[in-house]
Amino acid sequence: MSQPHRGRRRSQDAAGPVRASRGPLRFAPAVVLLLASTGLGVALAITADRGVPESEVDNRPVQITGDGYVTSETCRSCHPSQYDTWYGSFHRTMTQVATPDTVRADFDGVRVAHTHGRPMWLERDGDEFWANFDDPGWEGPEPERPRIRRQVVMITGSHHQNIYWYATGHDRGLNVLPGVYLIKEQRWASRSAVALHPPSQSVAMLNGHWNAICIVCHTTLGKTAFDTPYRSEPFDLQAIDTTVAEFGIACESCHGPAQAHVEANRNPLRRYGLHRAGGVGDGDPTIVLPTRLDPERSSQACGQCHSVWEFYDRAGERHANRAGLPYRPGDELRDTRFVAQPSVDRDSPEILAFVEDDPEFVRGSFWPDGMVRVSGREYNGLIDSPCFRHATEPDRTLTCFSCHTMHKPAEDRRTVAEWADTYQVSTGMDGNDACLQCHEPMRDDLTAHTRHGAESSGSRCYNCHMPYTSYGLLKTMRSHTISSPTAGETAELDRPNACNLCHLDKTLDWTADRLLEWYGTPVPVLSDDERRVAASLLWILKGDAGLRALTAQAMGWVPAQEASGTSWMVPHLGEALGDRYDAVRFIAARSLRSLPGYASLEYDFVAPEPERVNTAVRVLRAWRASPASRQRREPELLVDADGALRVDAMRRLFDQRDLRRLFLRE
């Protein structure tokens, strides 16, 4: 009985005064502690070093939202998987701000000898990157070209090359560093050396080049924003306020501006209604899913960048300068720009006008029959392909998404990096399944069609119908014009055919015979050389720089090496080490190093000419002294029965070389 009372009294004794004296104050220490820690956290967050806010950057183009664009960070919250695979792609990193995380080259007190003019010096200042070099934007007398020191602020490319852009100091105008960093080779080369570019022609390095040209395809909704047309007056007199919605090719490049989509889908009922209806996109008019457009419009979403195109007129260019390119995914691409397709419109007023303005407009990007020959313009190849042009059923029409995917599916066991490194080819589409999607009947008896063993590289659809006839980034790419090999394309157009790109040791005559026998392909008129000399040797000795580059690359291609042997290639690749074109030399050296015994070849493709020639001579002498030189004594390989190289024949063919200047506009 008494205990509860005692307890209550104790409670009253204790609690009464306590309630009076402590009351709300009993929580005071906890509240003070909470407020103090919150204040400390806020202070730390405010004072944390996050660099200069984008809105305050004034020496380079900046990212600003608007025009219905919300940026990928907004997309991320609802589409984490898609965001993740895009984030790992080279589309995202096509344009980046220069930071310690994005710059791949060493800037720490580095001297770069191989640039235009005097050597370039690179240095780090904290998180900033600086370069000291001859002003590439100088348009006055060469002897007066000034030395400048500028901050590197942006980067183009992250897969093969880092091209660095420096702040010119005038508004947001950029220009390119005269040296380019080759990522895989971990070395610098001059800007002109990394393009297939005539050695006698200076490469364009103009102030404002990025703002006016690169921006259109390497960013999302780029607005050049020159107050007067680019180069219509001195650069320093032009006001430049270049902005982008996002650097790199981001979500909204392919899906269109997403603000309406985001706002509409804040409503969970709407989202779940769409989910239940079969997934967002089927019935959601607020966003574009290129994979669900018709084949034409679907591929145009990629073609907006992966094509050779021009503005119809100056007015269109000026509009894009102010407001960005008007094309939005789902639109008809040709409504707002001219897509060149010389295979069908070579004589169109537009092409004729472009050629009048720039005589190399067609030749710099296309083979004589109009097939595109440079990388990064795959849409041009697609629209020339019979699988696209002649298709009548949407489900059986070739599109970019027949073989590629912009978001790696979860069930694809490749890592995102592996998928990105292989051009985002879809799961299983790196083999014959890509073509057998439509050509299913061939699956059962593939060899009857290919005339090669089932496991042979000659039974891979890609190798015959998408040969490596496009050039870009110091290597060759598969043609994206689906075609069948013919001897005629080589004899009449100087384009390598798929057969001889693998059977490098065979003549064009040999190929013509096989194609006639197997497929009834007409045999073209062939020259004596085409009947007697291996096609690859004619290409590398007589061809233009583009053809020489393709051939040199083919000699380093494993299937071709397996089909053709390698011992006979050495003197010809060695000769190419002295080619006038930097790019040809670079590729020849790489292929040579892939041959047995040449992996450790020491050769610098931009070294002084005597040094390069010396290396070529050493290679030739070593080869002559080796047993390899006597393995193939075949006249079509320009080796006589005694095992001696037919230098006279080589010289004769060399004298017929196509010396026209060639700049491939990759």
């Binding site: 307890g7 409670s11 998987s81 989910h275 967002v280 979860a410």
Partner: protein
């Protein structure tokens, strides 16, 4: 008074039992999630399964914490047998409902989901959250009405009868 006290004891036992079992259940779930982490199981860790990971983490956290709330509530009933005397039934039902619907909804929402949106199981979460708010409100209101020591309702802290 006796009826109230008996009721409090009953509820206390009920929530102790429920709380500990619930804690066991969701700690086991947490252990399972750690295993998924340990063996780097893509079904749980891949970015494409980020929603599942978030939902199951929330299920584990909410379930375990609600288990503790049950135990705490059970102990409160022992300490203050008279608390919320008229509301113990609704409080108990709400707490148990919340413990089933909140973590259960998160878990189901992660079983099948739509990219960044959880599956339809997530619909039980707001119901569970509402029940939890109601329960806590009722307890808070009852606590505010308390005026005295643990034996205020005439019962020993140990649960024995006062008179």
């Amino acid at each position: 008074m006796t009826r109230v006290s008996d009721s409090a004891v009953d509820y206390s036992r009920r929530h102790l039992r429920f709380g500990w079992w619930s804690l066991l259940c969701f700690l086991t779930l947490g252990f399972g999630l750690e295993l998924l982490h340990g063996f780097k199981v893509g079904f749980y860790l891949d970015v494409s399964n980020e929603t599942r990971r978030l939902m199951w983490t929330l299920a584990h956290a909410h379930g375990a914490l609600l288990g503790l709330v049950h135990i705490l509530y059970a102990l409160c009933l022992r300490l203050f047998p008279g608390v919320a005397a008229g509301s113990q039934g609704p409080i108990s039902s709400s707490l148990i409902g919340a413990s089933l619907l909140l973590p259960g909804g998160f878990f189901l929402g992660g079983v099948g989901f739509y990219s960044g949106d959880p599956g339809l199981g997530i619909l039980t979460v707001p119901v569970g959250a509402t029940l939890l708010v109601i329960a806590v409100f009722l307890i808070a209101r009852a606590s505010a009405a308390l005026d005295g020591d643990p034996g205020e309702s005439g019962q020993h802290p140990g649960g024995g009868k006062a008179r």
